[in-house]
Every structure is written in structure tokens, then in C-alpha cells.
Amino acid sequence: MKAPCSKSPSARPDSDRLLVLLLHAHLPDCRRPDLSRSLEETWFFQALGESYLPLIRVLDRLRDDGIPVRLTLSLSPTLLDQLRDPGLAQRWQVWLSDSRKIALHDAESAPASLRPIAAWHAAALSEIDRFREERCLGDPLAALLEHAHQGRIELATTCATHAFLPAHQGGSGVAETQIRTGLASFRRHTERCPEFFWLPECGYYPGLEEILARAGIRGFGLESHGITQASPAPAAGTRVPVRCPNGVMAFGRDTEASRLVWSAEHGYPGHPDYREFHRDRIHGLPREALRTLIGTADPRLPSGLKYWRITGPTDQKDLYNPATAETRAHQHAADFVEKLFPEDTNRSGAPSTPEICFLPFDAELFGHWWFEGPVWLESLFRRLAENSQISPVTASQAIRHCSAAPSGLPAPSSWGAGGDYSHWINRETDWLYPQLHDAELRFRDLLNRFNTEAASHHSGAPKTTKNPSPDGLRQRALLQAGRTLLLLQASDWPFMITSGTVPDLATAHLQSLFSRLERLCDDLEKSTLSPDFVGACERADASPAALTLDCFKNHL
């Protein structure tokens, strides 16, 4: 039986300065069950081992020491599906084992200077593996839910496949489908109803708050200028949320506090003592050694073994010293608390509302990108526990404490470069949208055509067994077409194309999705469905698992 929608505890804060720290954990559906090794899956492996599990460990330690924690954690539906995928968990073990073999080999055979840090990495990998098996019992999500039940963290979620919603404004129904399916996925995994919703990439356009309100959402976050350029603009800037005309609360990212972490030039993660993200040991190993150790040298996928520290803006890197880096992280946490609420904040616009510092970050920043991030987080909460001026609160607590927030309509914005939509809609990515829209229309036509069957069909996870009934197969194919359509709307692939990180991979991924969707639609139209092909599509594109055809009704 599902638990009723839970409300976060609304403990009265000790001060009128509230820190709303939100970590948004998200990965696109990067499963490649058809490959024994793939770059996409290493994104998940690294994030799990370096960010998600260390975060649970931080929460455990803070709980054990009686340190109060109020943290909002947004978990995307695609990540939730992957956290609960047993096949992916098995492949994680293989990847972890390969990395450990390399580290152990280095600890014995590498140049003497590398051996201590290699041994340290080998021990760390063993420890995180043990933590997942023994503490989390193989289910990290269950451990997070445990902390959520105890009020330490508040769970939130986002769109079904992390669609950049401004690219779908204009009444096509995509935004509503994405939001409702995202919430359904979240409920399926957590048996909870979130009050706060993470807009993918902070992408907002006026009118979105209406869809959120219809879905039961009471608050969402924005990039700073979404609030500072709201209409009317609040006098206190982002230090108070804005209440939309329909009552939904919008929080603006605090620019100054974010900059302490995010700034490429001066942010904490760029300190020379911290571990260098970009130099992976695997690129320095001879091919023969790799073949001997892990059986293959192609492709050279990230191992997560990074023995060097940032050192400086050149290729010359010194060896990483974990103790020094940890000390630096504690210093940076202290510095952060000190600078969090400058004394000269203008709060004339809302004197009766607590002063808010809304700080959203990618959860993967802490651990994966910034290796010492979890230490910093833990240190931050320990220092806040000793600080009588600042109270950490969750997002829904902040909503309750800011009931007197000024009214306004936030400005269209995103947290992409330039604050506009061009990181997702630009010359390199715009080819995607006409094709996507045509596919949406085609799917809608198919849905209408098979409406009678769709209305009576409720499906949970994709079924991989062959269904002998033609109608059943058709429903599976229709549902899978809808799932593929949602996956095509993910913000991640255009982001990768624009950022130039792995543009070819992102383009190829989109094209393969289009290809499968086209074949599914063709086969549906011509009644030439193949159970094998439908099953293959279900295995290849399995998220969002909670999708039903009902999610599309009245929305497209």
C-alpha cells in the first residue's frame, strides 16, 4: 500500500536566515545493456561511486554524531530507474573491479612516487564497494529513503526525462506530460509526493507554474535573474522567493554564494590542493598492461583513478595528497559559512520574510567533479550546527516560512550560458526540434487511432516477454514509442552537443532513438510489428519505467 503523500517537518527555524541547499542528482538514461563496456555507463558508475554513495556516507556520519541536517535532494526519474537496475549494478561491480585491479597494479608496480596514492585509491574503491553492499544492501535509494523518512533530507524530483521545458512551450502538452510522468516515476520509486519540483536546467517560461500547480507542486527553483527580473522585481533580489500569481513559490539561485563554489576562476573546487578531475590514470597506462589487467585496452573508459592534484593551470601536476585536500575542504566550508549572508543585504522589500539563500547544485559536483565536495558538505553542516545565525531548511520548509513573500511573475530564464535558452536551442541543436515535433505529432495520431485500446491499458515496467496477443503487442509498441519520444526530449543530449563534450556520441544517440521510434511508428501504422524488435526497444530504452499511455492522454 502506498503511503500518503508526506509533508516535510516544518520545524521552526532558529534564525531568520535560512539556507536552502538543494542537490539535483540526474543522469540521462545511459544504459547500454548491448555492450559490455560503454562510455555512457561509466557516467553512472563514477557518479554512484564518487557522489551518491559518499553522500549517503556523509548523511550517516552526521546522523551518528547528532548533527542536524536539512538538505533537499532532487532525484531525476531516469536516475531513479538506473539506481534500481540490477543489470547496471552488476556492470558497476565489473567496472569497479577493473579500476581496483589497475590501482592494485600501480600500488605494486608503478613508479615509486605513484604507489602510495594508488594504494589509497585501491582502498577507497574497496571501501565504497563494501559500503554499498553492507550498509546499503545493494540499494542506495533505500538508504536515501531512510534518511528522508527521518527528516534529514527532503526528496524532490524533476521531469520524466529531464526535458528542457522552454523548448516545448506553446501548448503542445509536452511539459505537462513530462512533469506528470516525472511525478509518477518518483512516486513509484519513493511512495512520496514532492512539494518542490526541479525544473531541468532551471528552464522556465511564464505559464509553467500553472502546470506545476495542477500537478500539486508548491515551489520550484530558478536562476537568479528569473527572480531579480521578475515582474515586478522584488526589492530584496533573490533573498526572498517570489510568489507566482497562482501561489506557487519560485526561489532564485543566490548568485554570490553560488559563485564561491561554481566560479571557474575563483571557486573552491579549483584550488590547487584538490584532486585533478581531468587526468585519469588509464590514459597513462600502456595498452599491453591494460589488456593484461582488464582484458581490453579499447576503448579506454574512465577508471576514476586520479592520482594528481590540480596544482596549477599547466600540464605539470603534483601528486594528490588526500589529507591536505581534506584540510582545505574544511577551510573552504568555514569560509563559505562566513560569506553566506553578507551584512549589507537589502531586505527592504520583505522585512517580514526570513532571508533566504537558495543554493542549488548538481549533486554530481560533490564527489565526481569536485572530489572533496562530500567532505565540504559534511563540514558545512557541522559548522552550521554551531552557528546560531543560519538555519538550514528544506525547500518545503522554506515555502512555509516565506508565506509573506512578495508576488510576481518570474522572468523566462535558464541556468545555461547567458541565462537564456540558447544552450539548448542553437545552431548546432536546432535540427532536433522539427524532427521531434513531427515525431510527437505522429505519435499523437497513433495514440488517437488506438485510443480505445490505450484507455484500458495500464502498464508498469516495460514487459520484455513476448506477448502473443496482437493487441497486447500493439499496446507495448505504442507505449515504447511514447517512452522513446520522452527520451528524445532529454536536455542532456543538446547540452552535450553545445558544450562540445561528446557531441558525436550525443548526436548518434539521438539518431538511434529517432530510428527506433520511426520503425515503431512504421510498424504500428502498417501492422507489421515484430515482438523481437519491440522487445529489443524495451530493453534499450527502459526509462521512464513508470510510463503508461494514460500519461499522454489529453496532453499531446
Binding site: 517560461y205 536551442i425 535540427w431
Partner: protein
């Protein structure tokens, strides 16, 4: 099987009004969508079914330009303001081969809605399809981008040269001065026929990207016509100017580029047509679009190319060619260079800049000296 000549007109009667609200949003098999990219730019794409277009032609009769559609952009005051109060701000001629375009707005921000339609020989506009309204994103307030985008006179020229344009386009957007009072181009209408043989814009792109003269670091483009492959072309010559920008691919001591820019040309070739820009043959993508993204080795030449006036090609030379979009964009990585950017080139809060122009199929870039000569003779 050929299509019927007399489709059922009662099914989807075409509006004869010019008001935006009269256009259907999603007529059968057709749509028009606008995706805001940034405060100044829209990505617009559409689909018009054959039967719908055929019916439109029956209603309109022979359009002013048979192979051309008009895309009109309207701006709205607010999220809920009525369409009847929409103000037309842009009219962009569209070649029928296209299914998408980008529109650079004269005024940033706010809400927009678009229509796509035909124009009859009396200048009346028949909207075929209307988009949903969309909100333009706002860039963070920044001292670097305090002013709205300036009027691009070449764009005005381009619009004004259309036959039988709606009256609102005979005025400069925003300032109310009739285009005939524009001191820079006193007679920008079709009377301004270039005195030289028509230029192929592809050659101009090539000449801008591959300057003939080695550059010692300071350059200016002049309008001296030179013979290139039997045609006049623009040449880049060295000049002692202190206003030039160093844009290129060279890193100095590992430092980031002071300025990075690319020039992009796009076109939708008709079926079977092969287009070459800067020596590179375009390969149409799945949307039928050819695109050339070219590192901008000579920023000034590229900038001047974008700012050059366009004029009607008098129905010759380029009449059958598709339309090009030229865009120059980049980022200023060293803020000290901001003050040295050309006038009219705006930089946003992230120090990015963009400039663009659309070249209709029957327009060509013409040397400024030609226009000047015409101007002086007219004076």
C-alpha cells in the same frame, strides 16, 4: 495520382484578414512553431501540407511572389494580453523550399507570436497558420548590454525591397521615420540597381574568409572592386588602422583567445542543387539544410560582409537560388577587447556577440561604392 484541382474550400476557409488572431493555430497537417533562443533570436519552423497550400493559392490567387511566403512576428505586452493588441515587429520573406529559419528581433524580450502566410498582388497578407505564443528569455542585467539592439539598416533595405509590402514595413521599426528619410540610403528601393555585374554572395563569403593579402595584424576591408574569376569581388587590404581586432586560431603562451568568432552560412538548396561556400560543398542534413561553419580568420572582413547593403538582383543572377542566412557570432574572452568591437555589435552578459543577416533569393550583396555612386547621382 494528381491532386484534385478544386478541393473543398468550406472545410478550412482561409482568413482574409491581416489580424493575427484570424490565423488558425493547427490547421490539418500544418503547424508553425517558434522557439526562443535568446532575447533577440527565434528559431522558427513549420509545416504546410500540400493540400492546405494548394487551397491557399486558390484563395489568394496568384501571389505577389509565387515561391515566397511571408513570416510575420508579432510582439505582445504580456503573458495574457490579447492577440488583437499584438504589434507586428518583423516580416521575413521565406523561400518555399524552407521549413525553418532563425529570426533576429529588433526589440528583445517579451512575448511573441508568429504567422506564416501569402501576400497577394495588392499587398494584402493572408495568414495561413499561426504559432502559439512564446516567452523570450531574458539575459541577466549587465552593464555590457544595457541597450536594445540597434536597427540593422540592411535588414530594412531587404524588407523594403519586397514588392507590395504591408505599409508598416515602409517605416523603420521603432522610430517612426519613413524609410525614404533614411540619410544613409536615400533611395533604398528597387531603383537602386547595382551598376556592376551581380555578385555571387558565396564568392563574397569566400573572399571574406580567405583574404588575399597577408595581414600583419591590422586590417580593414575596403570596397575596392577587384576582379576575381571574372567577377568583381571585395578585397581585404592592409590599412593602418587601430580599430582592427585580432581574431584567429593562434594561442599565445597558452592564454585564451581574446576573441573567437565564426561565420556561418546556411541555405536550403532545392532538390538536386549543389551549393559551395568557401570551397566547401554543402551536404544537406535530414532537414534539408546546408550549413557552413567557418572559423573567422578575418573578423573585420566578416563583419563588413554582414553590414553590407543588399539590393534586389533585378530578377537576374540569383533569382533561382535559395536564401542564405549569414551569421557571425563568437565570444570576447578578454574584456579589454570589448571597447574595440565595431559599433553596432552588441555583447551580452556572457560577452557573447551575434550578428546576422538574411539574404533573400533574389538579393545580392553589392559593393557600397556602387550604392554611393547611385546616391550621389540621385542627389
Amino acid at each position: 495520382m494528381s491532386a484534385p484541382h478544386h478541393p473543398d474550400r468550406t472545410a478550412h476557409p482561409l482568413p482574409r484578414l491581416t489580424e493575427v488572431e484570424s490565423a488558425p493555430v493547427n490547421p490539418p497537417g500544418s503547424y508553425l512553431r517558434i522557439l526562443p533562443m535568446d532575447p533577440h533570436r527565434l528559431f522558427v519552423y513549420w509545416k504546410l501540407s500540400d493540400s492546405f497550400t494548394r487551397e491557399a493559392h486558390l484563395t489568394v490567387g496568384r501571389p505577389a511572389v509565387p515561391d515566397r511566403l511571408l513570416l510575420r512576428i508579432f510582439q505582445l505586452d504580456g503573458l495574457n494580453s490579447g492577440l488583437s493588441r499584438a504589434r507586428i515587429t518583423e516580416t521575413v520573406p521565406i523561400n518555399r523550399n524552407r521549413r525553418e529559419t532563425r529570426v533576429h528581433l529588433s526589440h528583445p524580450g517579451g512575448y511573441v507570436v508568429a504567422t506564416l502566410g501569402l501576400q497577394d498582388r495588392q499587398g494584402r497578407f493572408y495568414p495561413l497558420v499561426r504559432s502559439a505564443r512564446a516567452a523570450l528569455p531574458e539575459a541577466p542585467a549587465s552593464p555590457e548590454s544595457p541597450t536594445p539592439r540597434r536597427i540593422d539598416e540592411t535588414a530594412v533595405l531587404q524588407r523594403a525591397s519586397l514588392t507590395g509590402l504591408p505599409p508598416e514595413l515602409l517605416r523603420l521599426p521603432g522610430d517612426g521615420h519613413a524609410i525614404r528619410n533614411n540619410q544613409l540610403h536615400p533611395e533604398p528601393h528597387a531603383a537602386v540597381i547595382p551598376q556592376t555585374p551581380m555578385l555571387d554572395e558565396r564568392n563574397v563569403v569566400e573572399s571574406a574568409l580567405n583574404p588575399r593579402t597577408p595581414r600583419p595584424g591590422l586590417e580593414l576591408e575596403t570596397d575596392s572592386p577587384q576582379t576575381e574569376r571574372g567577377r568583381p569581388a571585395f578585397a581585404t587590404v592592409t590599412a593602418p588602422s587601430s580599430h582592427s581586432l585580432a581574431a584567429g586560431s593562434a594561442y599565445e603562451g597558452g592564454a585564451p583567445l581574446a576573441l573567437h568568432a565564426v561565420l556561418v552560412a546556411e541555405a536550403f538548396p532545392v532538390r538536386g542543387e549543389r551549393l559551395t561556400v568557401a570551397g566547401i560543398e554543402g551536404k544537406p542534413d535530414r532537414n534539408g539544410r546546408c550549413r557552413w561553419t567557418l572559423p573567422c580568420e578575418d573578423f573585420n572582413a566578416a563583419w563588413n560582409l554582414l553590414k553590407k547593403p543588399a539590393a534586389p538582383a533585378n530578377g537576374v543572377a540569383l533569382g533561382s537560388e535559395p536564401r542564405f542566412i549569414l551569421e557571425l557570432e563568437g565570444i570576447v574572452r578578454d574584456k579589454t577587447y570589448l571597447a574595440r568591437l565595431p559599433r553596432g555589435l552588441e555583447v551580452d552578459a556572457a560577452n557573447r556577440f551575434r550578428a546576422a543577416r538574411h539574404l533573400p533569393s533574389d538579393h545580392a550583396l553589392v559593393p557600397a561604392w556602387s550604392l554611393r555612386r547611385k546616391t550621389s547621382s540621385a542627389a
